[in-house]
C-alpha cells in the first residue's frame, strides 16, 4: 500500500501508569503533572527534519490497558518506530511489555531495522526501584533494541530518548534538530529570493 503521507510515526507502548503520557507531554509540551488520567489514544504532531526536508513527527500515545487489541495492531502496522515504556518501580510493567514486543515482531517481521527503544521511566523514584538498570539493558540486548532510563518528572533523558530513537532510523535521516537546518534552508531561500530580486 502506498504511503499516505511523509509523516514519521512513533508509537509509545507500555502498561498502565508507567508514564507514557508523561514522557510524551514532557517532550511535546514541556509540562508535567502528577495527576493520572488514563489515556485512550492521543497523537501529537511535531515538525522535524527528515532527509534534509521537513516532515511531521507523529507521536501516538496508546492506552495502557488492553481494552483495544484491534487498535494496538493497527498502531503497530502503521508505526515506523516504537518506544516501549516500563516503570523501574514495577517489575510487572516490564513483564507486560513482552507480549507487545512479540506482537511488533509478528506484525513487522524483521525487527532489526525498526527503531525500538526500551525505556525504564520514573528513575527519580530510586528508593522504590524494582528493576535494576542492568536488567533493562539485558532485556534490550535480548530484544536487539536500545535502552535508556528516564524521568518525565525531572525531565531527565526525555529529549535524548526521542533523539536517540530517530538516530536508530537507518532507512532515512530523521532528526529533531529542525531549527538549525530550517534556518539554513530559510537562509538559502532568502538568498535565492534575494537573487531573484536582483535579477
Amino acid at each position: 500500500m502506498p504511503e499516505q503521507s511523509n509523516d514519521y510515526r512513533v508509537v509509545v507502548f507500555g502498561a498502565g501508569g508507567v508514564g507514557k503520557s508523561s514522557l510524551v507531554l514532557r517532550f511535546v509540551k514541556g509540562t508535567f503533572r502528577e495527576s493520572y488520567i488514563p489515556t485512550i489514544e492521543d497523537t501529537y504532531r511535531q515538525v522535524i527534519s527528515c532527509d534534509k526536508s521537513i516532515c511531521t513527527l507523529q507521536i501516538t500515545d496508546t492506552t495502557g490497558s488492553h481494552q483495544f487489541p484491534a487498535m494496538q495492531r493497527l498502531s503497530i502496522s502503521k508505526g515506523h518506530a516504537f518506544i516501549l515504556v516500563y516503570s523501574i518501580t514495577s517489575r510487572q510493567s516490564l513483564e507486560e511489555l513482552k507480549p507487545i514486543y512479540e506482537q511488533i515482531c509478528q506484525i513487522k517481521g524483521d525487527v532489526e531495522n525498526i527503531p525500538i527503544m526500551l525505556v525504564g521511566n520514573k528513575n527519580d523514584e530510586n528508593q522504590n526501584r524494582e528493576v535494576d538498570s542492568s536488567e533493562g539493558e539485558a532485556m534490550a540486548k535480548k530484544w536487539k533494541c536500545a535502552f535508556m532510563e528516564t524521568s518525565a518528572k525531572l525531565n531527565h533523558n526525555v529529549k535524548e530518548l526521542f533523539q536517540e530513537l530517530l538516530n536508530l532510523e537507518k532507512r532515512r535521516t530523521v532528526s529533531l534538530q529542525i531549527d538549525g537546518k530550517k534556518s539554513k534552508q530559510q537562509k538559502r531561500k532568502e538568498k535565492l529570493k534575494g537573487k531573484c530580486v536582483v535579477m
Binding site: P2, Q4, S5, L25, K29, T31, F32, R33, S35, I37, T39, I40, E41, D42, T43, Y44, R45, F68, P69, A70, M71
Partner: protein, 616 residues
C-alpha cells in the same frame, strides 16, 4: 396479544379518526377506545367487569379528553379517503372523533386539570387490580403521558394526589404511574427531576402499603418496575460503571462494529477524538450528554494546560468542522453534540486566535479503484446487511425520541442520540453510493456498479427496508452522479426502467403520496424512511401550539401520539433475515457497518468531472 394492543392496532384506530361517527355498542372500536386506552378494554376476556365496570361497548364512563364541539381548529372538515394517516401531515388536525356518548369535555385544559380529570375518570374497584399495567404500558395515550410530564416537570404534583384518600384514586394514581414507568423505563434515569418525583411518589406509596391491601398487586408491580428502571430509591449513588461504547466513526473498531447495536443513553460513556489546529488529537472519555464546557475541561486537563493558561483570554473553544472546511463554534452550554456531528465532521479545540487558521483533516479516502468490498460481495448480501443494520439502529430509537426531536425547543433538551445516529446513517448511505461510484475509474466497471446499486435498492425494498431504499435512490440522484451521462447510457434498459420506477416511488409530489401508499400496504416489520416521519411530526408540531393560555391542545397531542403509534406498529414484529456467519459474510457485514464516504459535495463534483468531463 393483549386486548388493548389489539385495539390499538385495529385499522379503525388510524390517525385522523373518522369524523365523529360514534361506534355503535358492541363494536367497541373506532376512535373512541384508543383515546381511553388507559382503562381496561371492556372487551377483555380475562377481566371480569366489576359491578361498576364498563358495559361492553359503552365507553361513556371513560375519559374523553376531547372537546365536544371544537378541537382547536376545523373539526368537521371531511377527511378524504379512509386511510388518511398515510397522507399526513395536513397541518389541520384531523376531524374530531367525538366522545361516543357525549360526555363532558375535558380539553383544552390546563395540564393539572387534565390530570385531575383523568384520575377522576379512571376505573375503580378491586376487580382491576390484576395485571394492571402488565405489558400494557404502550397503551397509554400520549396526551396523558404528556400531561403527566408537564406536571412532573413542574415538580408539583397536584394536591389531589395526596388528598381524597379513596381507594379509587389510589388505583388511578398507581395505574398512571405504572404506565408512565413502563413507557419511559430507562429514560427516567436520564431525567433527574422526573425521576425524583417518581421516587418521592414511590416512597409515599410504600408508606401507605399496609393500609391498602387491595393495592398489593399494583404495588408489587410498581416495586418491580422501579427496580428494573434502576431508580434506586434507597441510595443516591449512580449505577456502577457501564461499559464505554465506541461511537465514533473515526474510532473504527472492527470487533465492536460487528456486535448488535444497543441503544445509547445520555449517561453512557463514549470515546471521542478532539483535534488541535495542527491535527494532533486527544481521545477523551465523556458522557454522551456532556456539555461543550465539560468536553473542553477534559481536553484542557489532558493537555496539561496550566490554570493560568486556561483562565486567560485564550481559553479553548470547541469547533465542529466538516470535511468541506465549513466550521462552526459550539456554545459552552450546548449538550450532546457528538451525535449531531455531520458524517465526516470532527471536533476541534482551539483558541479564538487560531480559529481562522483551522483546516479540515485530509480526506481519509484514497482512490483505490475496485478495491472495496462492494465489488466483491453479492448485491443480496449487501442489501441484507444494510437492512439488518438499519433495523438494529431503528429498533434502538425510543418512541419518545421522535417526540423530543420535534418538540425539542419546547421541553428542554432530552437526548435523541439514537434517532440522530439513524439520521446520520441515512445521509451516510446516500454519500456512500456516490463515493463508491465516483471512485470507480473505468466506465464499464462504473456502469456495472450502478446496476448493482439499483439491484441493492430493489432488494432493500423487498426487505421492506424503505430507509436504505430511499437513501440509495437519493444517493443515485445526487447531481454528481446523475450527470454521468456515459455511465447511465451503459445501463441496461431493464435497470433504467426499474430506476425510473424507484424515482417515482420516492417522488415527493402530493406529499409523498406514492411512497405512503406503498408503505400502507406493507405489513410489519418494516423500516420506514424516518426523515419523512420527522417531517410529518414537525408539521403537526409547528402547525399548532401545544399550550394556549395554559390550556393543553389535546387534539394535537393525539395526532402526534397516533403518528408515533404507527412507528410502534412498524416495529411490532422482529425482522429476521437469514445471514450466514461465514468469514466472507462477516467481511461484508463489517464493510456495510462502517462505510467510508466522501461527504464533501465539492469533492464529489470534482471526481465526477474528472471521470466524465464533457458530458452535460
Amino acid at each position: 396479544m393483549k386486548p388493548l394492543e389489539k385495539l390499538l392496532k385495529k385499522p379503525g384506530s388510524h390517525l385522523p379518526a373518522r369524523p365523529a361517527a360514534a361506534p355503535g355498542p358492541g363494536q367497541g372500536s373506532g376512535p373512541g377506545p384508543r383515546r381511553q386506552s388507559l382503562s381496561r378494554s371492556p372487551a377483555s376476556p380475562e377481566e371480569p367487569a366489576g359491578p361498576a365496570g364498563p358495559q361492553p361497548g359503552s365507553e361513556g364512563r371513560w375519559l374523553e379528553l376531547r372537546p365536544p364541539e371544537a378541537p382547536l381548529r376545523s373539526p368537521d372538515e371531511p377527511s378524504p379517503g379512509g386511510d388518511r394517516d398515510r397522507e399526513l401531515p395536513s397541518p389541520e388536525p384531523p376531524p374530531a372523533a367525538r366522545c361516543c356518548c357525549g360526555c363532558a369535555p375535558a380539553a383544552p385544559a390546563p395540564p393539572e386539570r387534565l390530570l385531575a380529570a383523568l384520575l377522576e375518570r379512571l376505573p375503580a374497584g378491586g376487580a382491576h387490580g390484576r395485571g394492571c399495567g402488565a405489558g400494557r404500558g404502550p397503551s397509554l395515550p400520549w396526551c396523558i403521558l404528556d400531561g403527566v410530564t408537564f406536571v412532573l416537570a413542574a415538580g408539583s404534583p397536584p394536591p389531589h394526589w395526596e388528598e381524597g384518600a379513596g381507594l379509587r384514586r389510589k388505583h388511578a394514581v398507581l395505574a398512571v404511574l405504572l404506565h408512565f414507568l413502563e413507557t419511559y423505563k430507562g429514560l427516567l434515569q436520564e431525567e433527574e427531576s422526573a425521576g425524583k418525583v417518581i421516587k418521592e411518589l414511590y416512597l409515599l406509596i410504600m408508606k401507605d402499603t399496609s393500609l391498602y391491601h387491595d393495592l398489593e398487586d399494583e404495588i408489587l408491580k410498581l416495586h418491580q418496575l422501579v427496580e428494573t428502571v434502576e431508580l434506586k430509591v434507597a441510595d443516591e449513588t449512580p449505577p456502577p460503571n457501564k461499559q464505554v461504547k465506541p461511537l465514533f466513526r473515526h474510532f473504527r473498531r472492527i470487533d465492536s462494529c460487528l456486535q448488535t447495536r444497543v441503544a445509547f443513553r445520555g449517561s453512557d460513556e463514549i470515546f471521542c477524538r478532539v483535534y488541535m489546529p495542527d491535527h494532533s488529537y486527544v481521545t477523551i472519555r465523556s458522557r454522551l450528554s456532556a456539555s461543550v464546557q465539560d468536553i473542553l475541561a477534559s481536553v484542557t486537563e489532558k493537555l496539561q494546560y496550566s490554570e493560568e493558561q486556561s483562565a486567560r483570554e485564550d481559553a479553548l473553544i470547541l469547533v465542529t468542522m466538516a470535511s468541506s472546511g465549513e466550521k462552526a463554534v459550539l456554545q459552552p452550554s450546548e449538550e450532546c453534540v457528538f451525535t449531531t456531528l455531520g458524517i465526516n465532521s470532527h471536533l476541534f479545540a482551539c483558541t479564538r486566535d487560531t480559529f481562522d487558521s483551522l483546516v479540515p483533516l485530509p480526506e481519509e479516502i484514497q482512490v483505490v479503484p475496485g478495491d472495496t468490498e462492494i465489488h466483491r460481495a453479492e448485491p443480496e448480501e449487501i442489501a441484507n446487511h444494510l437492512t439488518a443494520f438499519h433495523w438494529e439502529l431503528f429498533r434502538c430509537i425510543h418512541e419518545l425520541e421522535f417526540v423530543d426531536y420535534v418538540f425539542h425547543g419546547e421541553r428542554g433538551r432530552r437526548e435523541t442520540a439514537n434517532l440522530e445516529l439513524l439520521l446520520q446513517r441515512c445521509s451516510e448511505v446516500q454519500h456512500w453510493v456516490g463515493t463508491e461510484l465516483l471512485l470507480c475509474e473505468s466506465l464499464g466497471k462504473r456502469a456495472h456498479l450502478l446496476k448493482k446499486l439499483i439491484k441493492i435498492a430493489a432488494i432493500c425494498k423487498q426487505n421492506q427496508d424503505m430507509l436504505s431504499f430511499y437513501a440509495i435512490v437519493i444517493g443515485l440522484n445526487n447531481a454528481a452522479i446523475s450527470r454521468l451521462r456515459l455511465t447511465w447510457e451503459k445501463l441496461p434498459g431493464k435497470f433504467k426502467n426499474l430506476f425510473r420506477k424507484f424515482e417515482n416511488l420516492t417522488d415527493p409530489c402530493r406529499n409523498h403520496k406514492t411512497y405512503r401508499e406503498v408503505l400502507a400496504k406493507m405489513k410489519p416489520p418494516l423500516i420506514p424512511f424516518v426523515p419523512l416521519i420527522l417531517k410529518d411530526l414537525t408539521f403537526l408540531h409547528e402547525g399548532s401550539k401545544t399550550l394556549l393560555d395554559g390550556l393543553v391542545n389535546v387534539e394535537k397531542l393525539h395526532c402526534i401520539a397516533e403518528k408515533v403509534r404507527t412507528i410502534r406498529k412498524y416495529r411490532s414484529r422482529p425482522l429476521c433475515l437469514e445471514l450466514e456467519a461465514s468469514p466472507s459474510q462477516l467481511q461484508t457485514k463489517a464493510y456495510v457497518r462502517q462505510l467510508r464516504v466522501i461527504d464533501n459535495q465539492n469533492l464529489l463534483f470534482e471526481l465526477s468531472y474528472k471521470l466524465e468531463p464533457g458530458s452535460q
